[in-house]
C-alpha cells in the first residue's frame, strides 16, 4: 500500500503509533527526533521522496484515518496556479516544477482550504466523502457555472 511517488518512498509507511516500542535504554537522549537517517547536509535541495526520512519523522507516518471528507483533484480543469499548494496547512498538495500532481492522502486532514482557494470554474478540487471512488467523483464533476448578473 505504498502511496509515495517513487518505489523507495516511505511516505505514510506506518500507522501513527505503530512504530517499534523500544525500552528506556534505547530511547533517544533528551527526546530528540532526528529528521533523517545519517548525514543529510543537502536535504533542503532534495524533493521529499528523495530524502531518507527517519522512522520518527511524521513523513513516514500516515494519519489518513483522521479524515472523513477528502479533496479530489481534477487534472482536466486545473491551471497549475499553485494556490492550493501555497495555502495547504499540512503541505499535502504535491507539486513538482510548478505542476500540480495530486494530494498526499497520508497527511491531508480534509480541511477543505484547497477547495476554497481554487480559482477555476468549475473548481479543480472538490470535497467528497472519504469512501467515494475517485472515478465516480470525477464522473460527477459539476459543469461550468455562468456568471450571475
Amino acid at each position: 500500500m505504498s502511496k509515495g511517488l517513487e518505489g523507495n518512498d516511505n511516505r505514510g509507511a506506518r500507522e501513527l503509533g505503530a512504530e517499534e516500542k523500544v525500552g528506556w535504554d534505547q530511547v533517544t537522549q533528551g527526546v530528540v527526533l532526528h529528521s533523517f537517517v545519517g548525514e543529510s547536509e543537502n536535504s533542503a535541495f532534495l524533493k521529499p521522496e528523495e530524502r531518507e526520512y527517519n522512522d520518527f519523522n511524521s513523513y513516514t507516518a500516515t494519519v489518513a484515518s483522521w479524515r472523513i471528507v477528502k479533496p479530489v483533484y481534477n487534472r482536466d480543469i486545473c491551471i497549475d496556479c499553485q494556490n492550493c499548494w501555497v495555502w495547504c496547512p499540512d503541505t499535502s498538495i504535491i507539486s513538482r516544477d510548478k505542476q500540480m500532481l495530486g494530494i498526499d492522502y497520508d497527511h491531508c486532514k480534509g480541511c477543505g482550504v484547497c477547495v476554497e482557494v481554487c480559482p477555476t470554474n468549475p473548481k479543480s478540487l472538490l470535497m467528497f466523502g472519504e469512501a467515494e471512488e475517485t472515478e465516480t467523483a470525477l464522473a460527477n464533476w459539476p459543469e461550468k457555472k455562468k456568471k450571475e448578473k
Binding site: 516500542k21 525500552g23 528506556w24 530511547v27 537522549q29 533528551g30 532526528h34 529528521s35
Partner: protein, 413 residues
C-alpha cells in the same frame, strides 16, 4: 578574543562575585538572565565583564525569569554553553522551564542564591527555592562559602556537560550569608580555569545543519515513561562523574570536595545533618562541644542535594557508635516532615546503627542560626541517646518565638 582578567593569588570576594568570576572564566556562549535579590550581583558582574570585553559570548536581557530560562533552553538546544543566575521568586517563575531543560538534557548551569519564597515576601536566605528544585531533574550542588561558590561553579560545567550526564546543574549558595559575605578566595588564573572547564562539545545541536533535529517533542503514555526513566538513570549515574570531577579539581587546586561532607563522624554518638552555610556553624559547635563537654558530636552535610547521595549518606551514618541524628531543614515543610529528614532517614534505615532520627525546621526567612543553638540541639540529641528513646517531639522548630511547636512522638506503648 576575550581579554584576560588580572587576578591576585588571593582575592577578597563575596559569594556572588566569586560565582560571576567563575561564569566569566568558563567563556559561556549565552547568558540569559533577569536579576533578582540576592543573586543580582552575579548578573550585574557578568554584564560588566561583557561590556568591558572580558567575555566573547552573548548576554541576553529578558523580560522575566521564565524568559531567562526559556532563552537558556533555546540557546542550549542550539548548541552553546549556557548559564544564568536566580533566586526565590525568580526561581519559582522558572519552575516550568526547569523541567524542560532537564528533560531535554540541556547542560545549563544556574548559580542559585538561596532565598525564602513568599508569602510573606522575604529577601533573606533560606532553602525554599533550592527545595522547590529538588524534583526538577537538575543536579543540585551546594556551596557553603564564597570559595566553594567559585570552585563548584567551575565544576558544575564539567559535570553537566559530561557526555554521560548532559543534565543541567544548579550551584547553590545561601543568600546574604554566603552571597554577600566577603571572604578570602583563591581563584585560578583564567587559562587554568578554562582548561579545567574545557571546550564545549555540542550534542544533537539544532545548529548542526547536516543532522536536522527536533527538540521538545510531545510523548504520551506509550513513550513518556521510558524517557523519564532514562533521564532519572542519567541523574543517578552522574554520581560517579561528580566524584571524578571533584577528584580532578583537587589535583589542580588541592581543595577537596565530596558528594557528602562528613566531619568528626568516626566516633560520633550524635550527629547533625544539614545544608548550606549553617554547616560551618554546626562544625564549629561540634568542635567546641567535643573540647568543652567531651560530647562526641559529628556533622554530615550533603554537598550534592541531587542526585541525593543515598549511598554516601548511609556510609556517613553507618557508624556503630551513632545513637541519635538530627536533620535540619531550612525550608517550610508545607505539611510534612522536612525533606532532608525524610531522605536521610530513609538512607539511615538501611544502616546497621539505625540511629534515632529527629527533625528541626530552622532559619526560615533568614532567621539566625548561631553556634549556641547548634550546641543546644546537639545536647538534646545526647539526651535522646542517653534515654534510649526520642525525648522530644520528632519535628521541632529552632529559633521560633511563641509557645513550643512540635509534631509526632515515638510510639512507646
Amino acid at each position: 578574543m576575550a581579554k584576560e582578567f588580572e587576578l591576585n593569588d588571593v582575592e577578597v570576594w563575596d559569594g556572588n562575585y566569586a560565582a560571576s568570576q567563575a561564569l566569566r572564566q568558563a567563556q559561556i556562549d549565552v547568558v540569559a538572565a533577569y536579576p533578582i535579590t540576592p543573586s543580582t550581583p552575579i548578573v550585574e558582574g557578568y554584564g560588566a565583564y561583557v561590556a568591558n570585553g572580558y567575555v566573547d559570548g552573548e548576554f541576553v536581557m529578558v523580560e522575566s525569569e521564565h524568559g531567562a530560562m526559556s532563552g537558556c533552553v533555546g540557546a542550549a538546544a542550539a548548541g552553546g554553553r549556557v548559564a544564568t543566575a536566580t533566586s526565590s521568586q525568580g526561581f519559582a517563575l522558572m519552575a516550568e522551564v526547569l523541567y524542560q531543560a532537564s528533560g531535554m538534557r540541556l547542560p545549563i548551569v544556574m548559580t542559585v542564591v538561596n532565598r525564602a519564597l513568599a508569602s510573606p515576601l522575604n529577601v533573606r536566605g533560606d532553602h525554599s527555592d533550592m527545595y522547590l528544585g529538588r524534583d526538577s531533574g537538575w543536579i543540585q550542588i551546594d556551596a557553603f562559602n564564597a570559595q566553594e561558590a567559585y570552585d563548584l561553579a567551575l565544576c558544575a560545567f564539567r559535570i553537566g556537560e559530561h557526555k554521560d550526564v548532559r543534565l543541567p546543574v544548579m550551584m547553590h549558595q545561601d543568600g546574604f550569608t554566603t552571597s554577600h559575605k566577603a571572604q578570602n578566595v583563591y581563584p585560578l588564573k583564567d587559562s587554568v580555569a578554562y582548561k579545567f572547564v574545557g571546550d564545549f562539545v555540542p550534542v544533537d545541536d539544532m545548529l548542526d545543519f547536516s543532522r536536522p533535529v527536533t527538540h521538545g517533542a510531545q510523548t504520551e503514555e506509550d513513550w513518556h515513561y521510558e524517557h523519564k526513566a532514562k533521564q532519572h538513570k542519567a541523574l543517578m549515574d552522574s554520581r560517579t562523574v561528580i566524584d571524578d570531577v571533584f577528584a580532578e579539581f583537587k589535583e589542580i587546586t588541592g581543595r577537596e570536595y565530596k558528594r557528602v561532607e562528613s566531619y568528626m563522624m568516626e566516633d560520633a554518638e550524635v550527629a547533625l545533618v544539614l545544608l548550606g552555610s549553617s554547616v560551618e556553624t554546626a562544625v564549629l559547635a561540634a568542635k567546641q562541644l567535643r573540647e568543652e563537654e567531651g560530647l562526641k558530636v559529628g556533622v554530615v552535610a550533603p554537598r550534592c542535594f541531587r542526585p541525593f547521595p543515598y549511598d554516601l549518606v548511609r556510609e556517613a551514618l553507618d557508624v556503630p557508635s551513632l545513637k541519635s541524628v538530627c536533620c535540619l531543614d531550612k525550608s517550610a515543610p508545607g505539611g510534612a516532615m522536612g525533606a532532608l529528614f525524610n531522605e536521610v532517614s530513609a538512607a539511615a534505615y538501611s544502616t546497621k546503627a539505625r540511629p534515632m532520627m529527629t527533625n528541626y525546621i530552622y532559619g526560615l526567612g533568614g532567621r539566625d542560626f548561631a553556634v549556641d543553638e547548634a550546641k543546644r540541639i546537639m545536647r538534646e540529641q545526647k539526651a535522646h541517646a542517653d534515654a534510649g528513646h526520642i525525648t522530644t517531639d520528632i519535628q521541632q522548630f529552632s529559633g521560633l518565638r511563641g509557645p513550643k511547636l512540635g509534631f509526632f512522638k515515638t510510639r512507646r506503648d
